[in-house]
Symmetry: C2
């Protein structure tokens, strides 16, 4: 029952992860998220089901892990240090990424397994470091928390992605970013 | 194939709807959303499957229709005509309603059937009339569209409901409402 096994660091661990991630991607394309099972994934990846349960806990967590890694929500842009410029550039990239077919598929796949109570996946935690980096690069505090920025920029993208017909209005996230940056500017004494 | 049947207005139509809605609610509680089928619903409601397909098109639309009707997203408050006061009062009620067990279950059930492209359900269309009523009651235009208000107030509630761990911060929607109202005030010349 409670056989404990040390996590093996290094090469094998990474190879298992890559094989399992690849298997999930292939099988979702072949049979769809709803028909996916842990034994199928294990067989395709050449590992045991217990390896998958030990590492990911359950299928929903595994699918969500795979989906998140396949998307770029980090910051590929060179930061200028101007909060409005940087946030708008990132917001535009974020909207493009999420409103793509892989982005929508990721959100859809994650939501199929949502329990209605705990977070469906770490989508917000994935953007927080980028938002904090942009806030920090702006130099003096701009009077906004990462949460406020995420509510203002990320929330409309995700809400409309899910609850409005596609595609999103062009510039939705960019304009939200510029608006929240303008509010921030009025909060900060000019340097 | 193309047998057309006139929709019968009045009593029978409403009774069918009530029976089907009740059947969906009972069966979701008993077998869960994932196991729900149209023939099951039809049998429980005492109608034929083709009645359900004719009226709702598919199971996802039916479930979403049932879910939306079970929630209050209209405006039970007496409007004062002060935009900030009215929007904050409604926002608080909206958050309470959505962050309840029935609210979360509704969103979860709707998202299970989401195709990733078209709107998962008419959740935003359901709030738009209320938001427009509040905007109109405020008298002179407050310089905000219903879309902007929905992005500012509804989006953070829905996004955090889905992608953050429960429960939502108290006052999330109310504070968002007060912020968007404060921005609006600076857009409008004092009367």
């Amino acid at each position: 029952m409670s056989v404990r096994q040390a996590v093996r660091p290094g090469g094998r661990s990474l190879r298992v992860q890559q094989a399992v991630h690849a298997a999930v991607g292939e099988l979702i394309a072949e049979v769809g998220r709803d028909a996916l099972t842990v034994p199928q994934v294990a067989q395709r990846a050449g590992v045991t089901s217990s390896t998958i349960y030990r590492r990911w806990g359950d299928l929903a967590t595994l699918v969500s892990d795979v989906a998140r890694r396949s998307l770029r929500t980090d910051c590929p842009i060179r930061l200028t240090g101007d909060f409005a410029t940087d946030l708008a550039a990132w917001a535009e990239m974020y909207q493009d990424e999420m409103d793509s077919t892989p982005g929508r598929n990721m959100v859809r796949d994650v939501l199929r397994g949502w329990d209605g109570t705990t977070a469906a996946c770490a989508l917000l935690e994935a953007v927080r470091p980028v938002v904090e980096t942009i806030l920090t690069a702006a130099g003096p505090p701009v009077g906004l928390s990462a949460d406020r920025v995420i509510d203002a920029v990320v929330a409309p993208v995700l809400m409309r992605l899910i609850f409005a017909d596609a595609p999103l209005p062009a510039g939705l996230a960019r304009e939200a970013a510029l608006r929240v940056a303008a509010v921030a500017r009025t909060n900060v004494p000019p340097s």
